[in-house]
């Protein structure tokens, strides 16, 4: 219990230090860049729960994330709910989506799940493009207040929300890793048949993991329309999210709670820097190459590299 408490206190302290530091900096761009990095901490952490621990590859991060973003838009238009209830709605919808996809495909070999998630993104995009209520292919606008009292600016509020989500996601990942669920998922990754034979309820654990993974990805997407003020299907379903969600945990070290955080901070900062200085097509290309080179040369990621040496 002690280590859990220490983790949460440490994470909270780190978060407060980040907010204080950015306030001192006093530049709105700091919040925007920080949000960009933190959304990937959530996305990579979510991917890691299924991909890292259980070894099941989810290619549909963009689809789940967009499902979350559009859930937030729908509840805003339909019920007038704001960001925070929108996040809960996103978690619910994307979690359900994860459960459904998992239920239909997870009884088979793992690659079928991967293929299904890959197609899921394409099909969800078709549905959204055809759905006029959320703007169809024209996209949807979210108009928000300029300032919200306790915060200095709207972007600071978004940053703090995303920071909280990133801490919660990392904490969930850590809790999963240390719980029976995590150990069961690791057993599935190492040898699913053997795990089944010794009484690990493999299908149930996998379904819990896909639901959790989908829900957290949805959460990562929910503030996106608020962040950009406008969302169209092309931006929401961008393949960049899917490739980053895989590349970050694998580069940081999949199957450890800290791996996705390291990978996300590293890769997202790099991309943010490259977008500002070079072109955005080139920086995506770099991410693709980094993914391929890392999985080939350092399959256990940065953390695995250090562990082997220690």
């Amino acid at each position: 219990m002690n280590t859990h408490l220490r983790f949460w206190l440490g994470a909270a302290a780190l978060g407060l230090a980040l907010v204080a530091g950015l306030r001192l900096l006093g530049n709105d761009y700091g919040y925007f860049a920080g949000y960009f990095v933190l959304q990937y901490v959530v996305l990579a952490g979510a991917w890691n729960i299924l991909g890292g621990y259980a070894g099941y590859v989810n290619f549909g991060a963009a689809g789940f994330m967009a499902a979350g973003a559009y859930s937030a838009i729908v509840v805003r238009q339909w019920l007038g709910w704001d960001l925070i209830p929108g996040i809960f709605a996103a978690a619910f919808v994307a979690g359900l989506l994860g459960l459904g996809t998992g239920y239909l495909t997870l009884r088979l070999k793992g690659v079928y799940f991967s293929i299904a998630t890959l197609c899921l993104a394409v099909v969800l995009q078709t549905l959204v493009v055809n759905w006029d209520y959320v703007g169809g292919s024209r996209g949807a606008y979210i108009i928000h207040a300029r300032d919200i009292p306790p915060f200095n600016s709207y972007s600071e509020m978004l940053f703090i929300v995303m920071l909280a989500l990133a801490i919660i996601t990392t904490g969930i990942g850590r809790a999963v890793e240390m719980s029976r669920l995590g150990r069961g998922l690791q057993a599935i990754r190492d040898n699913e048949r053997a795990a089944e034979a010794v009484g690990v309820p493999t299908l149930r654990l996998k379904l819990v993991a896909t639901t959790l993974c989908g829900a957290l990805m949805g959460v990562a997407g929910a503030p996106l329309p608020y962040y950009s003020g406008y969302l169209n299907p092309e931006a929401a379903f961008s393949l960049a999210y899917a490739v980053n969600a895989i590349a970050m945990p694998l580069i940081g070290g999949a199957g450890t709670w800290a791996g996705p955080v390291i990978g996300a901070v590293l890769l997202a900062s790099l991309q943010q820097a490259a977008t500002v200085t070079i072109s955005s097509a080139l920086n995506l290309w770099i991410v693709g190459w980094m993914l391929v080179i890392f999985v080939a040369v350092a399959p256990r990621g940065i953390l695995g590299w250090f562990r082997r040496r220690a």
């Binding site: 197609c119 394409v122 080939a296």
Partner: protein
């Protein structure tokens, strides 16, 4: 909408023609995914690359897209061998196919797609052959050559592949490696060499399918994404390693998709692909034409 028989007939016929294109796209995957158990999700992206090189070379040489597609196939064969060598060295040999191998192909797909945007730009490319605007009419049914010629081209290339796999020694070895790689070793045949060769063939088929694709529709760097669902659905429905099953599934798929597009609008057709894939995976994972495992 009022039910219209000739509309339905035309929908079915052009669906069959479209299915020919899908068969070309899926046949290479039936070799790599079906026979070699290599989950090459970059296959559609390689097909689109083939389409782009067809446009570039065809414009430069002033040749028919399908002729260019045949001429460039050896290049893609060599490229495929390169990809397989990397895959084998880093993943297959280490037993890391499941997680890292999948991520590798995903990375390759992404690199190809972004690379195409950087080289050719994001806009659509096309190359119309001379027959593109001719349409034969049989009674009420239209047979546009833009669809018919690539469909026949696809059938011819799959037929060639079928003969190769069933008549030649190496072809039989490819079928054997799909069933038992270790037994092949006992016959003093190196399974890795056979797999390398087969994977090269699958990529060459992808590039030829790219040539067929260019005749049917304009291509853009992200055209491959819609095909991922289609080709994997077709491959699985067809019973993975079976070429006749692949053709049957592709034709059926083309008809269903096209009839949906005729009656509900073309923007819904990708949803059909996914729905089919999920249904097949949920209820008949061995495929419509496959045997139970």
């Amino acid at each position: 909408m009022e039910f219209d028989l000739s509309l339905l007939l035309n929908g079915i016929v052009s669906g069959l023609l479209l299915g020919g294109l899908y068969a070309a796209a899926a046949s290479g995957l039936a070799v790599s995914f079906g026979m070699l158990d290599i989950v090459n999700i970059a296959h559609p992206a390689l097909m689109v690359t083939g389409a782009f090189t067809v446009v570039a070379l065809g414009t430069w040489l002033g040749l028919d897209p399908l002729v260019v597609a045949v001429l460039q196939a050896p290049l893609f064969y060599v490229f495929g061998i390169g990809i397989y060598n990397a895959y084998h060295h880093f993943f297959e040999k280490r037993g890391d196919e499941a997680l890292q191998g999948l991520a590798f192909f995903f990375g390759v797909m992404f690199i190809i797609e972004v690379g195409l945007v950087m080289v050719f730009g994001p806009e659509q490319r096309f190359l119309d052959p001379s027959y593109a605007y001719t349409t034969w009419r049989i009674g009420d049914i239209d047979l546009p050559l833009r669809m018919l010629v690539p469909g026949l081209f696809a059938m011819a290339s799959i037929g060639g592949l079928f003969l190769y796999l069933h008549r030649s020694f190496t072809g039989l070895a490819i079928a054997a490696v799909a069933q038992d790689a270790e037994a092949l070793r006992l016959m003093a045949i190196d399974p890795v060499r056979i797999k390398r060769l087969a994977f090269g063939i699958s990529i060459a088929l992808a590039s030829m399918a790219g040539g067929a694709l260019v005749v049917v529709q304009p291509v853009e760097p992200s055209s491959g994404q819609v095909f991922i669902g289609r080709v994997f659905a077709i491959c699985i429905m067809g019973g993975m390693a079976s070429l006749p099953g692949c053709i049957m599934a592709a034709l059926l798929f083309g008809v269903v998709e096209n009839v949906t597009a005729t009656f509900f609008g073309p923007s819904w057709s990708p949803a059909v692909a996914f729905g089919w894939l999920l249904l097949v995976l949920a209820f008949r994972p061995q495929g419509l034409f496959g045997k139970a495992a």
